[in-house]
Structure formats: C-alpha cells, structure tokens
C-alpha cells in the first residue's frame, strides 16, 4: 500500500479532487490564485484624460498628441478641429488649463500642450484647403452676433452642421477679442486673418460695422433669421471709481489694446505708465505700453504678492523680464493733476474676502502715497453693453440670462461667451468662450431639429490618480521649452515673443504624453498576456480585443497597462445571471465604446474598487 502512512502537510491540504467554491463565490479564488477560472475579466475602458477634461472646449488633447507622436500631423489637425476652429490662435493665446491639469505635472513637468497645438494650428494655416468642410445645407439661416472666440466657434460649428451663417460684427474688422484684446506680439494679425478667411471658406457671411441695437434691432434678429447666437462679449471697461478718473491720460485696458489691434489707436504714451490691475489683460497692457514707447511701466495691484495675481505665471515672468515693476497691496483712490494726469494717489488695500473677485477694503486712514505718472491704464475687468436687449433676458450681474443650454427662454436665440460667463464661476478665457460657442451651436441645432434638450447623463471618469496607471513605464524626461526672443530686443517691437516648435520638438514633446487612461496602442497587453487572449487585427488605438474564452483573469495585462485603460471587472455573479461577451467594452464613448455599444452599461453593475 503505497499511500499507507502518507501525510499531506497542512499548507498543501486541498479539498476533495481540488473542487472549490466557484470563482464568483466567497473564497473561490483563495486556493488557486493563478487560475481558478477567471473571477474578473479585463476590459478596455477609456477614461477621460485630465487635459481633455480641463480644456474649455474639451479638445481631444491626448488623441492629437498621440497622432503627432506617430507623425500623423494632418489627422491630429483634423482631430483638434472637431472642437477648436482656430488652433493657431489658441496655440498662442490660451491660458492652457490643460497644462495645469496635466498628470505629467505631478511627475516631472507638464506637457507643453499649447506649443503642440500651435504647431498643428500653423500646419493648418499653411493648407491650401482646410480639412473641415461645410455641412450639407439645411436651408436655415442663423445670425451670430460678434466675431470673438465664442461667436467664431459657434459660427464655425453651425456652418459644419449645414446652417447658412451670417456674422454681425460691429467693428470694422472681424475677430472680436482675438483681434482687439490680444496684442500682435502674442497673436500676429495675419494668423487671425487666416482663420477669419477659413470662416469665409466655409460659406459664412461676415458683415462688419453692423452693431446690434443700432444697425440691427432685436426684432430684426427674430424676423430675418431662423435662430441667433449672441456672442457680444464684454466691451465696456470697469472703472476703479477714483476721484478724477476722467482726466486726460487715463486709459482703459481693453479699449487701449483694441484700438492698437484695429489699427485705429491715436494714443501717445508718456515715459512713465502705471497699469492698474493684476490680471492677464493688465499684463498685456503693461507689456504693450513698453512697445508703445513707455520707459518705466509699473503695475499696481490690490493683490499683496505676485502669487496672488490671477495671471498666468509664464506671462508674469516674461513681463518682469521685460522690466515692468510691480507695486502690490495698493488701490488708486484719486487721479491727480490739472486737467491732465500727473500722479496717482494710492492707499493700502486688500481684498475683503479670500478671492480677488471679492470687494476691496481700502485703508483711507493710512497716509496717501503719491505716484507720479504720465499715463495710467486701468485694466480691472469689463462688462457688457446690453441696452438693446429686452429686460427679461438680463441678469442682475449685467449678463444675458440663459438656461443651462445657453438658450434665452423659449426663443431660438442663444448666447455664449463672456457675456454669459462673467461672474458665473469660471475664469474668462478664450478657450472657455470657444467651448461655450461650440456647445450652444449643437444645442441650437437640436432645437432646430425639434429635439428636446437634455443634460448629459453619462458619468465621466477623469483619471487624476497616477496610481491608476503603471508609472514604471514612464522615464522622467524634461519638458521641451519654446524659444523666446530676448527681453531687451523684443520689448520695443511687435514681433512674436514666443517661438514655434520645430517638427522634432513637437514629436519629442508629444511623446512625453502618458496617454492617461486611454489606449495608445503600446502593445503591452498583447505582449504580456501569458495566453493568446489579446487579439489585434492591426496595431491601432483601442482596437485590441480580449478573447475571453481563453482569459484566466490573471490580471497581468491590467497591472502592466501603462495608461490604465485596462481594468478588471468582476464576472457577474452566477446566481444573478452570467453574461457572456466576446469583446471588450467601454463605458465612455470612444473607440472601445464602438466595439460593443450595447454592453456599455454593464460596468455600472460591477462592484467598484477592484
């Protein structure tokens, strides 16, 4: 008897014939961790990368970086153009919330997304024919009032949807804030001109010198067009409510920049210029003042330090490099001088609340300072001019009253951009206005087609946590820096300060992208799978397929997925019904979502935290 006297040690005690609870049952995986047939299955479920999420118009940033990496520039340009009409503009002027959100920033340095966008935008500028075409005409006419970022974006998307679009612009040149609010040395006029031409190529009619409320009435809009988009922006500068603010030599930020941008400026600055305000427009004004002949430019802010200023740090840095001085914690209480400005009276001041939009507390008990200047440029924000708008559509904060879809009541009129976003909680920036214009265009289209407007219900999974990716696959690599003109020479010219990426630089920078939560066809899953479970007809983003018939649920592919797009989903409990499927699925729409659309909701039924 060979088995007589044998003893199986406790650690190897095994149930009868190795029969154990099913993998779906409690402890079903304990005994045979490598393969008590699959209790979880890997699925490709693309997350939303934080850059895409942070972008005001939700550009598919990870997508175009990936295409640039592969040298597919035209595809990348076409992808960016889905959400952004003028990457050449935003590639220069955008305050890039994407880069602030970039996960790489927590690892070494954020991707220089804006520079890659500019690279693509300039490529688009050079094309004889744009990749975007107007949609098949639906015979409906839409007026877009204003040709700034929001109006431009809305007009662009509406033309793509097949509308006959007319832009009404009150200035002699189209471009709105892009032209009037952004200096040439940031955005050369010819770049913007080319983007305006692209609108005309799409069949959009641009009528300049047409002001709503004067040349076109509210009723005209309703009568002559099937629908309208109001994107009139903020045209009126805020005052600092200082005594003597009406003296000669007192200028306001946006009109100052606008007149220069439109070529209608008659301003001659003195040697000493003060700029009031701590935001991005104030910075542009200060730097423009240098280029308009000022010698000493001082920026006076209520903010107590540079860190508190609501400005982009790089621009602040570049401004100081050009020689602009900062004077913090002061408010202008009077403009002194006899008919013409001679000096400013300053008092200590601070914001009364925690944020710099809160009311200002001025300490008038403290001794006043006298600050001698030849000109002052006040850049403390602006407001809308809405005299022509029926009162029912005005809000208390002086903006247009809209519903959550950007619509004015039950009219066919929508509003977008700064004129609705002012004070709504998000910072005013070009890209946000573009996104607003885009969304309003799609909502307008739905209304025109008789569809009900509904809020989005798809949950968005933004991947913020680096632990959801496999960071061992990403070596540290420094950010590729854009070249800048030297401060001494640039501050007297209108030459573009920041230089473009070369092709090599663009590829190098795009290659740093983690592709957070999104398949980038790295082939790792294909290579590490110990069974032949990962199939791919060709190496292509999101086109991998898991042959679950062979999958043991070993998790190797999940653990080794650099981007975190692969995750494990528990097999549905045997008791409540086993679901068989032969393909991966994704929750958010994307390439994977298209593989098995009908299975998208399954993930909601699966437990979290696996």
């Amino acid at each position: 008897m060979s088995t007589k006297g044998t003893h199986i040690p406790d650690r190897l005690k095994i149930p009868f014939a190795g029969i154990t609870p099913a993998p779906s049952q409690e402890k079903g995986q304990d005994l045979f961790p490598t393969g008590n047939w699959r209790s979880i299955r890997p699925v490709y479920r693309d997350k939303l990368p934080p850059c895409n999420n942070a972008c005001g118009t939700n550009e598919k940033i990870q997508g175009y970086l990936d295409l640039v990496k592969r040298g597919k520039y035209l595809d990348a340009y076409a992808l960016i153009k889905e959400d952004m009409p003028f990457p050449s503009v935003t590639g220069r002027v955008c305050y890039h919330p994407c880069e602030q959100a970039c996960n790489r920033g927590k690892y070494d340095e954020a991707i220089s997304i804006r520079a890659v966008e500019r690279f693509l935008g300039d490529l688009g500028q050079a094309l004889t024919h744009d990749v975007v075409k107007a949609g098949k005409s639906n015979g409906k006419k839409v007026a877009v009032v204003g040709s700034g970022p929001a109006g431009h974006s809305a007009a662009y998307q509406l033309a793509r949807l097949g509308y006959q679009v007319t832009i009404l612009e009150k200035s002699p040149k189209a471009g709105g804030l892009n032209r009037g609010g952004i200096p040439d040395w940031v955005l050369p006029a010819h770049v913007l001109d080319r983007e305006i031409e692209r609108l005309v190529e799409l069949g959009i009619t641009i009528k300049t010198n047409v002001e709503v409320g004067k040349d076109v009435t509210w009723d005209d809009l309703k009568k002559n067009y099937d629908a309208s988009v109001l994107a009139v922006g903020l045209t009126e500068p805020n005052s600092v409510r200082a005594e003597g603010e009406n003296k000669d030599g007192v200028l306001y930020g946006l009109p100052f920049l606008r007149d220069i941008g439109m070529g209608t400026s008659k301003v001659k600055l003195g040697a000493r210029v003060a700029v009031i305000g701590g935001g991005n427009t104030a910075i542009d004004c200060a730097r423009e003042a240098l280029r308009q002949g000022a010698v000493e430019v001082t920026m006076i802010t209520v903010e107590a330090s540079p860190e508190e200023m609501p400005a982009v740090p790089e621009d602040l840095h570049d401004m100081r490099e050009e020689g602009v001085e900062l004077l913090h914690g002061r408010a202008v209480t009077a403009v002194l001088g006899n008919g013409k400005i001679e000096a400013l009276q300053l008092h200590p001041a601070r914001f009364s609340g925690a944020i710099n939009a809160s009311p200002i507390t001025v300490d008038r008990e403290a001794p006043a300072e006298r600050f001698a200047v030849d000109n002052v440029i006040i850049a403390v924000g602006q407001r809308a001019s809405l005299k022509w708008l029926p009162d029912e559509f005005k809000t208390e904060r002086g903006t247009i009253k809209i519903d959550r879809f950007g619509r004015l009541g039950d009219t066919n009129i929508f509003a977008a951009g700064d004129v609705v976003q002012l004070g709504a909680g998000q910072p005013l920036m070009v890209v946000n206005a573009v996104g607003d214009g885009k969304r309003v265009a799609f909502n307008l289209d739905k209304v025109m087609r008789g569809e009900t407007l509904q809020p989005r219900t798809i949950a968005v999974d933004v991947i913020f946590d680096l632990n959801r990716m496999n960071m061992t696959y990403f070596p540290h690599f420094p950010r590729v820096q854009q070249d800048l003109l030297p401060p001494a020479s640039r501050k007297k010219t209108q030459d573009e300060v920041i230089q473009s990426f070369s092709e090599e630089q663009a590829i190098e920078e795009a290659s740093r992208c983690f592709s957070c939560g999104t398949c980038n066809a790295c082939d790792n899953c294909y290579l590490v799978c110990p069974e032949p479970c990962i199939a791919r007809p060709e190496r292509s983003n999101g086109m991998y397929k898991i042959l679950v018939d062979y999958c043991k649920g070993c998790r190797v592919c999940i653990e080794e997925c650099p981007t975190g797009c692969l995750e494990g989903v528990p097999e549905l409990d045997f008791d409540t019904g086993v679901v068989r499927m032969d393909t991966a699925f994704a929750i958010s729409p994307g390439l994977h979502g298209r593989q098995a659309e009908e299975l998208r909701n399954l993930g909601d039924r699966a437990a979290k935290n696996i």
Partner: protein
Amino acid sequence: MAMLADVKKRTVRINGCVASAQAAKYADVDVIAAYPIRPYTATMMALAQMVANGELDAEYIVADSEHSQLSIAHGAASSGARVFTGSSGVGVQFAYELYSPISGSRMPVQMMIADRTLDPPGDFGSEHTDALSTRDMGWLMGWSCDAQEAFDNHLIAYRIGEDPRVLLPQMVCQDGFFVSHITGDVELPDTGQVKEFLPPYKHPYPLDPRHPVSHGPQIMPEQGPPLQLERARAMEESMAVIEEVHDEFAKIFGRRYDPWIEEFMTDDAEVVFFLQGAHAVTARYAIQHMRDRGLKVGMVRLRTIRPYPTDRVKDVLSKFKVVGVIETNMGIGGVSSGGVLYAEVVAALYESQKRPLVLSFMAGMGGEAIVLKEFYWMTEKMMDVQKRGKIEKRTHWVGFEE
C-alpha cells in the same frame, strides 16, 4: 433518477453486448454517451431501443467522436448524473485525453469496453491492448469472461465506483466477439434486488447553479502531488470496498465471484496459465482434457487488474512451479518483449520466497481464438521448463514456433 419498473427475475439468452445494455438499464443510468465502433456498437443499439421503447428514461447523446463521448460523460457525471458510455479498439484510444481528467476529478463514469485490436490494419478481432493501454489512468478495470459475468460486473463496478470512499471511474471490459457476440444464458435480476444493491448516485460536489463550485481548476505545481496522492489512495482503499461489495452481491444475487482471481484446478497443479477474459473458457476445457491425461495443469484468471491485487497474485502463484502468462495484448519492446501482463506477474512475485518460473505467451493476438492444441503446446513448453528448472526462452509467439 427515474424509478425502475418492477421486473421479476428471469433468464434470457443474450450476447455480451446486450448483457451490458441490460445492466445499464437495470442500473437506471441517467445519461448515455454513444458513438459507434465495432464490436461494442451493439450495446448502444440495444440501449437506443430501450430508450426509444420507453423502457429506460435516460438522455441518449450521440457524440461526434469518442473524445466528445467521454467529454459528455465527464460533464454529465460532474452534474450528478449516472453515466454509461463505451467503446472499442482505436475508439478507446481516441478518447485518451479524458481518462486522467475523469478519474482526477473523481467522477465515477462507467465505460464498457468490448476489446478490439488496434490498427493497422483494420482488425475487428479482440485483443486487450486497447483498454490495457489506459490501465494506469486511475480507472478501476477488470475483464469478464462471459455474458453473465459482464452483466454482473457492470452493477458491481457502479456500486464500487460510486462508493463515497472510492469515487473513481470504471472500465468494465469484455473480449470483443468471444463475449460481446456470443450468446449465453444470462439471469436478469428482480428489480428489487438491484434497488437494494445499488443506491442512487450522489456526488458530493456536483455542478449546480444554486451552489456554484469550481471543478478542475488550474493549480500550482506544488498542489499537484497532494491531489495525485489522494487519487492513489482512493484506488488503494477501493480494495476493501471491492471485497465488501462482492460479498454483498453474492448475498443479494446468489452468485459469488472472487473479486481478484478465479482458480481452476489448481489444488495440486504444478504448471498454471495466468490470463484475463474470454480465453478462460477454452482454457478450462483444455485443462480438463489434459487432467484426463494426468498432467498437473491449472488456470488462474485475473478478474480485476486495477487495483492490481499484488499480494494475492504473489500468494496464489507462489504455489506453482511454472506460470504461463497468456497475454492477449501487446507490449512491444517491454520487459518480456511480448505483453504487459508478464511484467505485472513477475513484479508481484519478486518478493516471494518461492518464485515460480514465468513464461509469456503471445496468444490470442489479433482476435484469433486460442485453440485447444495451442493450450497443449503451451503446457508442453511449461512442463519442459519445469523439467529443466530454468527458462531458455522467456516469450513465445504461439503458432509461430515449432
């Protein structure tokens, strides 16, 4: 398990194939996995008729190959069904992959074998090589020598294999044609007797959606040996169960079989044949003839080869001077350069104080009958060895030597 219709005991004249089918019916099997190959096909034909006639309530599944047949049997047994399947010759070989998984998962599947010579070329004749080639796969295995024994062995094997102390599959073998196609009187029992002898099959961990379990998981290498040890233990411990069950069978049905060995005219025998299966019938006849002429010859028939009754074989065969193993199987290039049975016999005798001389006879190959004069010839060879006291030629190809 459907209720077996009440039937009174009666004797019928049927062949081995039909006897096996009758046994499956009396065992009230739940699932039959069939795929035709001669000579066992007749068993499945008979069962098909029984199911069609409503005599037997069972799932009758025609597979697309023997591999599928055994896979079906495996799955059905896993779900808690009593399963009957069978095959012959190369069909037995085609299902080879399944033998270890079935015994390893401890599923008491029953497989009827009507032996057939392996190809090539195509030969319908009986040779034990088909089933014997699977002898170490963890299945209980033994040969019957006539239709009645075949019938009885099926019931006995189910009872042993399904015993919770055993839980192993069984190969119930009979020689093709010599048993499968030769009719004999078979006493079919009273239904009540079978109910008393063979309780319903109950696996402790069947596949059941209400109580999910996992069968046959992937394991780590270190987890293999304990499972093999347990399977070996089950095989060894089945020996006590086998004896118990044969006793009980005798009590209920009135036919007593020694579970391991049948001895024929061995009391004073000096030379004996050692064999399995149908050729025992001819051997008995030949031995009687030779006894009439005063030769001290006898026969030892092995009834159960797995588990192999090593000690019993040693004790029994140590009484004789010469043992002639009639192989009826091929073990090319093996210990005896003849068949595999020789090695089993010699190994059992190795520790004996009184070892007989052992010859290997390649007889009954290809399904040829072993005729009387061949038994006489083999006896002469054994007696010659006895006289000389030593072996000059270990293995003889009977019919091909002077």
